[in-house]
């Protein structure tokens, strides 16, 4: 039932008609005897009134839009008051108040308010004191309309100050009783609250930007370079930037922080940089350097001494480089050619699966072959094998497309030492632990690499 139906009248803008309908029906739906009926009636009444008021307001604003849009002029408000008073009958004078005169002098000027606002921003303590004085004067000399106007006028002037902070706004709000934190702020209009909020955000945004640009001047090498690059005018990412380990990470960290707080600031950053960071990229990082060195040492210096040919060493290094970089680079390069990409992925998958199986079976082979004979002296072997299985368990990827799994498993395997250090948060203790782990890895690799020679008698 629409509210007009409940009130039993035709839709109208005449408030008097609406009220009469309401009061007529109220006699039968009294609040104390018929609470539900009364609620329905009252809701209908309020809605009907709102419709009428909205229509009237629209007509009014159409007329008002022509007049000067300044939402702020204490002089104007005083003039309005004078008009109203002239039409009201003030002659209901009471004996002892007949001497009371209604003077309506404007209590402050626009310049005064602007000066006060500036003072509040520059010197808060002084500003608050001045504000207090002005507010007391307004309260003790002004009528309600003037007071309301004062709150909105001050808010308007504050919203124009470019360095308005949230803290200052809170303190002013406490002082004047604006209650900006409350659910229903009634002293300031919606527009005013929005303007204030917007200005505070502006200030915070500029502060964040200043902090960023500051880093390009002061600060250590890495942040400085990162920010300089972000703010530069280059048309594309220089190649050397990829080779500085960790540089791109720093840049993307800052960009993400900016985006989270003030998305519009991204417009001020070099778009070429943004594009680079948004895309898939290959850069040199500490991880890459560490792993390359690690495996280089392993294959070329340690292992060769133990019955391993240099060919194996080169093959090993090749595999490492493949899984670290080449695989990603090829995939990047083949983005445009889906069929070749698919072919490559399939090959990589099969290849990695093969390698994994080889490693796995070699482990089993060792158990079957060597252990029975060397028990219980073979304890270290068991230990090694347990480590091998632990490694396999930790590298097997979950939540990834099936086809990529072997490849990712292999690359995880290769980066195990780095991951170990990462787990331990690069603490000083991690170095010796990694060293111990490397020794185990070394022993394991020797065992595995000896297998072909053990097998050769069979064929």
């Amino acid at each position: 039932m629409s509210h007009w139906q409940i009130l039993d009248i035709e839709p109208t803008q005449d408030e008097a008609l609406i009220r009469r309908a309401y009061s007529r029906l109220l006699k039968t739906h009294r609040p104390d005897s018929d609470p539900e009926g009364y609620q329905r009636l009252r809701e209908a009444f309020e809605q009907a009134k709102n419709c009428a008021v909205d229509a009237a307001l629209e007509a009014e604003t159409r007329d008002e839009d022509e007049t000067a849009g300044a939402e702020f002029s204490s002089v104007v408000s005083a003039l309005q008051m004078d008009e109203w008073l002239a039409t009201t009958d003030v002659s209901q004078a009471n004996g002892d108040l007949s001497n009371y005169a209604f003077t309506l002098t404007p209590l402050y000027t626009r310049e005064e308010l602007a000066r006060l606002a500036k003072l509040l921003i520059d010197e808060e303590m002084q500003g608050i004191k001045s504000l207090r004085g002005l507010y007391q004067r307004v309260c003790s000399e002004g009528n309600l309309l003037q007071q309301q106007q004062f709150h909105n006028d001050l808010a308007a002037v504050l919203a124009e100050q470019p360095e308005l902070t949230d803290g200052l706004l809170q303190r002013i709000s406490d002082e004047l009783g604006w209650g900006l934190d409350d659910y229903n702020v009634h002293l300031l209009s919606e527009r005013m609250q929005q303007a204030l909020g917007w200005q505070v955000r502006n200030t915070e945004r500029e502060q964040a930007w200043k902090k960023l640009t500051n880093e390009s001047v002061n600060g250590s090498f890495m942040p400085r370079t990162a920010v300089t690059l972000l703010l530069s005018d280059r048309t594309e990412m220089p190649f050397w930037a990829r080779l500085v380990p960790g540089l791109v990470t720093q840049m993307s960290q800052r960009v993400n922080a900016l985006y989270a707080a003030f998305p519009e600031l991204l417009e001020r950053i070099n778009p070429a940089m943004l594009e680079f960071m948004g895309s898939e990229r290959i850069t040199l990082s500490w991880r890459g350097i560490f792993l390359m060195v690690f495996w280089l040492v392993m294959f070329h210096f340690l292992l060769p001494g133990a019955l391993v040919t240099s060919v194996t060493g080169w093959v090993g290094m090749g595999l490492v480089l493949f899984y670290l970089y080449f695989s990603d680079m090829i995939m990047c390069g083949l983005q445009r050619r889906p069929r070749m990409l698919e072919a490559f992925l399939t090959m990589e998958c099969l290849f990695s699966a093969l390698l994994l199986c080889l490693l796995c079976f070699s482990g089993l082979f060792i158990i079957i072959n060597d252990l029975p004979g060397k028990w219980p002296g073979g304890m270290p072997y068991v230990f090694l094998l347990i480590i091998e299985f632990m490694i396999f368990w930790s590298v097997w990827p979950r939540n990834v497309v099936g086809m990529r799994r072997p490849g990712i498993a292999m690359s995880q395997l290769i980066s195990t030492p780095w991951r170990l250090m990462q787990r331990l948060d690069y603490a000083p203790i991690s170095w010796p632990l990694t060293a111990v782990f490397s020794v185990f890895l070394y022993k394991l690799l020797i065992l595995i690499l000896k297998i072909p020679s053990q097998l050769s008698p069979y064929w």
Binding site: R19, R20, K27, V90, L97, L145, G179, D182, Y183
Partner: protein, 566 residues
């Protein structure tokens, strides 16, 4: 509903009054001492008997530790007030006062009274209203309705001038300040908005004057707190004096020295400046909530004793840009309104056409959790019923669970305007068990229903269940439990009350004593004899003799009525 006589009681901070609906209009009932207003003061005499009303008021400055006034301010709190060695809660003192008023009414009307309508400040929250109901219960009264004070005054005013009008009631009483905006048309008295300050009243003005007096002679500060009651009495006199004269003076005799003060209007307005500023905030809020502007108001109505002060009247005139009306007697208006409501409750034909609708001055809501920066933050207030919504009202909102596999939801109900629940008044809580689901999967419909009697009913149902859980907030923190009420009833019954006759006698004795102080020479000696004879008669405990001598005393005192300061 009730065909028995219902009385309307104005339980004020400074004065209380009783009215009934009779012969088509509300009439105030005089108490046994003959006056229409009973001071809201309760005390104990040296034998441990209760003294209530005017007699207790006289003892405020002489026996401050045995007398309590303005206890309405403590309603709804756990504060205990002392009368000598006895401790009382504010509800108990109010109950003692109500009991006295009840007996006075029964005497005047000649029939038993058990139903009443009691007025409360519009800005009393739920806890405070329940305290008033408890006080009524302790006094043996069935409180049929709690009526807001400015609404009561509007009812009285509306009877006087029954036409279409919009006005604002400015009720500044002894301890509370209420602003209500009323829209009257076609016999409907509609309260559009209510606001106020329950810690602002005439007493605060007296306190401000007291501070000014102390600042004049800092040496007196050392004599605190012993000198405070006497000082306050003088401040009160100054305040009242300035309502009639442009300036007034007071003097205090303390420990052999005489201290003098002279206060004029300008100094008064200086020392009360902050209080006047505080008057503005509720007015602005009420106008905003009612969506009225100053132009929409036809007039401003002044109610409450403190509006007699020219300072207050001038402030109101300046604020509204017009002269306020004070057609109603400021002390009696609220009681008369309560009488009208009593008549309406009794369904008297004369007031059948008037329909009163009131509003809820506070928002009611529940505690919720908000998500900010990926973290859950507790303690936010979600309003379900916004303030100044009409009564009775029922509103509902839908909320969701916040964590995965949540077992239950704790629905905490609060009343107030703050954004955080710690700034609001806690009313009660309800626990609903929910099925285990992911966060946000279970949604709950919460419905708040607030009745005219001021009972909040909370209903909650989650979308996977068929039956709603219901909670009626019966008990709130700060309210007396059933056992406490039982204990209080015992305590109050044990305290022997002065037989009403003796109370009357006490009042006479006190009046005689003051007259003695005032007179000189022969007249003084004569009064002394009269009082002495009365005291002997009282000691004899012979009722007949007491009655005889009392008559003579009353006549004697009447001779000096024009000259005695009352």
């Amino acid at each position: 509903m009730a065909t028995r006589q219902v009385i309307g009681i104005d339980l004020g901070t400074t004065n209380s009054a009783v009215a009934v609906w009779r012969e088509g209009k509300p009439q105030l009932i005089a108490n046994t001492a003959g006056s229409l207003l009973t001071p809201s003061v309760v005390g104990l005499d040296d034998e441990g008997h209760l003294i209530i009303g005017q007699a207790a008021h006289h003892r405020l400055s002489t026996h401050p530790h045995l007398t309590q006034a303005s206890f309405k301010r403590y309603m709804g709190t756990e504060a205990t007030l002392s009368l000598g060695s006895h401790l009382f809660r504010a509800e108990e003192l109010s109950a003692i006062l109500l009991r006295q008023l009840k007996q006075d009414a029964e005497n005047a009307l000649g029939e038993e009274i058990s139903d009443a309508v009691i007025t409360v400040p519009a800005y009393f929250n739920d806890v405070q209203r329940r305290a008033v109901k408890t006080a009524g219960k302790l006094a043996g009264l069935n409180v049929l309705r709690l009526l807001n004070e400015p609404t009561a005054a509007s009812l009285a005013f509306g009877l006087l001038e029954n036409r279409e009008q919009k006005y604002l009631t400015f009720d500044l009483g002894g301890g509370t300040f209420d602003v209500s905006i009323i829209d009257m048309f076609d016999g409907v008295v509609e309260v559009r908005a209510s606001s106020g300050d329950v810690q602002l009243g005439g007493d605060d003005f007296s306190e401000a004057i007291c501070q000014w007096m102390l600042n004049k002679y800092p040496a007196l500060k050392d004599a605190l707190p012993a000198v405070k009651p006497a000082l306050l009495a003088q401040a009160e006199n100054l305040k009242r004096g300035l309502s009639h004269h442009v300036e007034d003076s007071a003097e205090l005799l303390w420990q052999g020295e005489t201290w003098r003060w002279t206060l004029d209007e300008k100094q008064l307005s200086e020392c009360c400046q902050t209080l006047i500023t505080r008057l503005q905030q509720p007015v602005i809020q009420a106008l905003h909530d009612a969506r009225f502007s100053l132009k929409d108001l036809d007039h401003v109505l002044l109610v409450g004793g403190a509006t007699r002060m020219p300072l207050v009247r001038q402030a109101v005139a300046r604020l509204f840009g017009r002269f306020p009306r004070h057609d109603l007697h400021p002390d009696e208006a609220v009681a008369l309104g309560a009488g009208v409501q009593a008549g309406m409750v009794m369904k008297d034909a004369a007031v059948e056409d008037i329909i009163l609708t009131d509003v809820m001055p506070f928002s009611l809501g529940m505690e919720t959790v908000k998500e900010s920066y990926g973290q859950l933050e507790e303690g936010f207030f979600l309003p379900l019923i916004e303030r100044n919504t009409w009564l009775p009202v029922s509103r509902s909102k839908t909320v969701q669970t916040v964590s995965d596999n949540q077992t239950h939801v704790l629905l905490k109900v609060y009343q107030g305007e703050g954004r955080r629940v710690k700034d609001n008044v806690y009313l009660g809580e309800m626990r609903i068990d929910v099925p285990l689901r992911k966060a946000g999967d279970v949604s709950l419909d919460v419905r708040f229903t607030y009745t005219l009697d001021g009972l909040l009913e909370v209903e909650c149902q989650h979308d996977k269940s068929l039956i709603p859980s219901r909670l009626v907030i019966e008990k709130v923190p700060g309210q007396m439990s059933a056992e406490q009420i039982e204990a209080s009833l015992h305590k109050l019954n044990e305290l022997k009350q002065h037989p009403r006759d003796r109370q009357e006698n006490q009042a006479l004795l006190v009046r005689g004593g003051r007259l003695y102080q005032f007179l000189l020479g022969e007249e003084r000696a004569w009064i002394d004899n009269v009082i002495h004879a009365f005291e002997l008669a009282l000691n004899s405990q012979d009722e007949r003799r007491i009655a005889d001598v009392r008559q003579k005393v009353v006549e004697a005192l009447a001779r000096f009525d024009e000259v005695t300061p009352q």
